[in-house]
Symmetry: C2
Subunit: 418 residues, 2 copies
């Protein structure tokens, strides 16, 4: 069979298996996830042996030390994968939830019930733990899943999937509901992205170039997020000690991630007192400041911010800083340069807090809290399957519910339409 034929068959089998997945009880799904966790732990020696093949091939190919570290599995990381499966088992099952129900004038009872999406394709890069994490979330939400990991991790991914599939077979659940694309040619991804009649959703997990490649070639809806240019506005009425604490957390706690702070906006009335304070604190922490003219009047150590700096996701200890004349000017800045990811305000003013919450339409909007909370776990979704900065279907961090849709259910007693 050609690659195209094999991919077609995998997708057809996954579609068929998805009907079985959709009918599984919560108990059966949870038992499966717990059994999968145990089998991963028991299979540690085998997983480490397969992982060694990937590490060897990666070293021979000259992968960077950072890449090799992301690829590496050891006892602790395998234990981590198993624990993540147990956490997914502990989450409430979204399938079957009736999110609302109402009565029509003709006595029809109409409701909306959560159901699985069907078949979900995940395209990801080096880290092999995604194989277990993503599979667990998709299966728990009653879906079938087709995984296409990076070629560097192919032995590890296959070994993990084989253990998980073994537990499915033991439980009488079709293992085709957890498919791994078995070859590493790029043609495999391209063929997968064509199966619009069999795959309901594609989630790419990885860097911007992977995501752009998937969006470019997919006939299937893609949930994506390119970058996070997150803003924080220090209002005139802000508690400056609170603002300093939140800005330092948002910028420095983990600068390389998408919900870290990239642009600081400061109300002009706060600037004379607060700019020197925050500039000193951030400079002490080795954060490079790039400010507009007014910011630099109060913080001469700052470099000159260029137009490009307002667009930039630095992912590093660099912060663009601008003084704004009003809340409206701040919102205009965010609308012009933002990425719809996450924005925060620090304020003591009730009306400004409410306006910021209402009028800033990024996927996560915070008052008096760090942008670093824009994360599925931190917001209370349980595990996170990804984050979306496009507005269709999901917007922001995505949990189990985002792997479902709703159907209309109607209970009648003989009604016909006039």
């Amino acid at each position: 069979m050609t690659i195209a034929e094999q991919i077609r068959q995998i997708a057809e089998n996954a579609r068929k298996a998805s009907h079985r997945m959709a009918r599984l009880s919560s108990g059966a799904k949870n038992d499966l996830l717990l059994a999968m966790a145990t089998t991963l732990e028991l299979g540690t020696p085998g997983l480490i042996a397969e992982n060694a093949k990937d590490l060897e091939a990666g070293a021979a190919k000259g992968l960077s030390a950072a890449m090799l570290d992301r690829l590496m599995l050891d006892d602790q990381r395998i234990k981590g994968m198993a624990d993540a499966l147990r956490e997914v088992a502990a989450l409430p099952d979204p399938v079957g939830e009736v999110t609302k129900m109402w009565k029509r004038p003709n006595d029809l009872m109409v409701g909306k019930m959560r159901i699985p999406l069907g078949v979900i394709g995940i395209v990801y890069e080096a880290r092999p733990n995604v194989t277990a994490d993503a599979a667990a979330l998709c299966l728990k939400a009653g879906n079938a899943v087709i995984l296409r990991g990076g070629s560097e991790a192919i032995h590890s991914n296959r070994a993990i999937a084989a253990l998980l599939q073994g537990e499915m077979t033991k439980a009488g659940i079709p293992a085709e509901a957890l498919a791994v694309i078995p070859f590493t040619e790029r043609e495999g991804v391209l063929e997968m992205l064509k199966q619009e009649d069999l795959i309901d959703l594609i989630i790419p997990r990885g860097g911007e170039s992977l995501i752009r490649f998937v969006v470019e070639h997919s006939k299937i809806p893609v949930i994506k997020h390119y970058k996070g240019v997150c803003h924080l506005l220090v209002d005139a009425s802000a508690d400056f000690a609170m603002a300093e604490k939140i800005i330092i957390n948002a910028k420095t706690q983990r600068p390389g991630v998408c919900n870290s702070l990239e642009t600081l906006l400061i109300h002009k009335d706060a600037a004379p007192q607060f700019v020197p304070q925050i500039a000193a604190a951030l400079s002490n922490l080795k954060v490079e400041l790039r400010g507009d003219e007014i910011f630099r009047e109060h913080a001469p150590q700052a470099k000159v911010a260029t137009e490009q700096d307002w667009h930039e996701e630095f992912l590093d200890l660099i912060l663009a800083c601008r003084v704004v004349g009003s809340l409206d000017e701040a919102i205009d800045h965010i609308n012009t340069y933002g990425s719809l990811h996450t924005e925060a305000i620090v304020t003591s003013d009730y009306a400004n807090a409410q306006r910021f919450i209402r009028e800033v339409n990024s996927s996560c909007v915070l008052v008096n809290a760090s942008t670093r909370f824009a994360d599925g776990n931190q917001l209370g979704l349980g595990a996170e399957i990804g984050i979306s900065t496009t507005k269709l279907h999901s917007f922001g961090p995505m949990g189990l519910e985002d792997l479902t849709t709703t159907k209309f259910i109607v209970y009648g007693d003989g009604q016909v339409r006039c």
Copy 2:
């Protein structure tokens, strides 16, 4: 300017105007819609004059009488458009609704708030009333809208839009939030479908070929529905009088629409008594029956159903009929041949009703009611912007809420992440 440049500018202006739309109060939006309704009624003579140009051009081009009728505006139809605007004004505003809110262990209050999608593109065919209907729904949900109607209706569409835009200007609302593509070349649609950074959603309204054209060429998410192959299962325990009444309604009340019945499934234990009864009733109403072997044993007047008949959306007084051995066999048939649109069961058995509701994952699933209720108005959504048989974002009839998304809102008092 080239067509491409003009479309780009329209989309840029709409995007800018969408920020203003998103901040409008419900009162301002409702006042606008009511003013638009009045201006359409007052503008009737002008609309009819512009419509006459389309009718004349259509007749010269040899459009069918049915097409010309769909194109035609008269006093009553203009009154109908105005009343539809008033109905949209009367609907609750989805924007700003907090759909849920919860407290985290660190006392952060986290919620989800409905916000507009942003800019919505509507691509539609002959009927000029879509110009007013679709604009009203998009604007009410706080969006900007770009309309691209059929070339046959260009004068009518422009005249309707001009009246509506006039009311926006009077109210101080940017008229760019209601844009009409001003030329009829196909290039206009193609350019519109490329503006993925400016337009959030495309909704095609029209026949399958229009929808396929849009899906084929769009870089923007498309909400679509190709066809409705709706099924009804008569369970062994069904009240046969109720079943007959519902089947006749579902098949014959309006056979040319997507929620009419196309395939009838009958439990084998019901077949000896019910097949002769329903076959006689439907034959009396001039419905052509195409049955499987067992069905035809009890209804010799039925033609032989072919494999293709199970896939068919007849949109006519034709019904495919099959006798099934069990509820599972019925569900398998629906999974194999269905279009995920609408399915119904007629039963007196509690467990079978609940299983059908849970296990059939089409966009609308009914017990003891006609498939004809799968409609936004009938289900209680108010007006309907369209219907989706793909599961992303919306599934089934779509109302105002489906023209919004949700963002996360977070109220803190200084929390940072550890």
